[in-house]
Amino acid sequence: MKSYRQIVEEAKTEIPEVTVDEIKSEQEKDSDFVLLDVRDEDEYRAGYIANAVHVTRGMLEFSVENYIPDRDQKVVVYCAAGLRSLLAAKSLREMGYTDTVSLAGGYRDWTAAGFPTEQDKPMSHEQLDRYSRHFMLTEVGEQGQAKLLDAKVLMVGAGGLGSPAGVYLGAAGVGHMGIIDSDVVELSNLQRQILHRTESVGTPKVQSATTTIKSLNPDIDITPYNLRLTADNVEEIFSEYDLIVDGCDNFATRFLVNDAAVLMNKPIVHGSIFQFEGQVSLFKPHEGPCYRCMYPTPPPPGLVPS
């Protein structure tokens, strides 16, 4: 039987230790290494070293490959004071990682030296509960959720496509959503536009959409624009958002959205449907095609199904 001291002493014989000063100067030299934070969630939440990858010691073996696929990558493991990181680094060696070291003194020495740290925007207890299923997905986690909460997404259209998109984006905690649509809810919309309810018939779609999404998730901000997107207002509205979700139902708006997004360098999630067919893509200006690369001009009006 071994005591923890023996286990740590054994690990020390296998795993090189580095000091916080050494790592700081490596950082400044832009050396190629990954900082791996193996502390628990609550410790990480209180602050971490910038750009650190966070995988708790408990989940290390299960998910480290998702973050550090290259087993020859240099990995500097740290914990609160440098013991768990030794054991974690040893486990990584057993998994075939060839260049793992442990940060002596860990986060304690890093902060004591006055080196900079970062902290995610703290989440409330309710947020930690509401989004807890996202945290179980290692690719999302609290950092991913923080990105969602910070995101600014504009939904063009609160109809057939905007309904499911808006429901899920809102529920997932996209923190700032704009919704633009000039229509009022009609009875014939309700067979598919699940943002709207029978009692909303006759009211603006953006109002009905805001009410529904807010009732699903009061944690987010929604800006309704009860107007039609035009060449005159598009730049002012787009400038508030990082991503455009285009669920519009007409070519004039689709080309307007595309032109403005390319000119303003905003990515578009594109979707459209006709009868039983639908298509989806992501147009990232200059990294991939835009809508006009596929369709330089709209079809002649006579050919447009309405």
């Binding site: 499911p164 004039a252 990515p267 449907i273 989806v280 690369c293 001009t297």
Partner: protein
Amino acid sequence: MLPGVIGVMMATEAIKYIIGIGEPLIGRLILYEALGMTYREMRINRDENCPLCGDNPVITKLIDDYDAAAENPETFAPAAD
């Protein structure tokens, strides 16, 4: 039901993009057909001659009236000066 499928795919792409995970649909078009329940992926490339995002774009500002232009498609791509 179809808009539900496509709208949820759109939300998925948006969330992936925001978090920065997975393979975004840049340069790929997903085509879904509900009656046959088929799902296809098409490669789509940036067109270097695209009037908007090509190497020598001719559209460098917005058109004044997109509704009017939609009625008259030729006006959508103004000729080069």
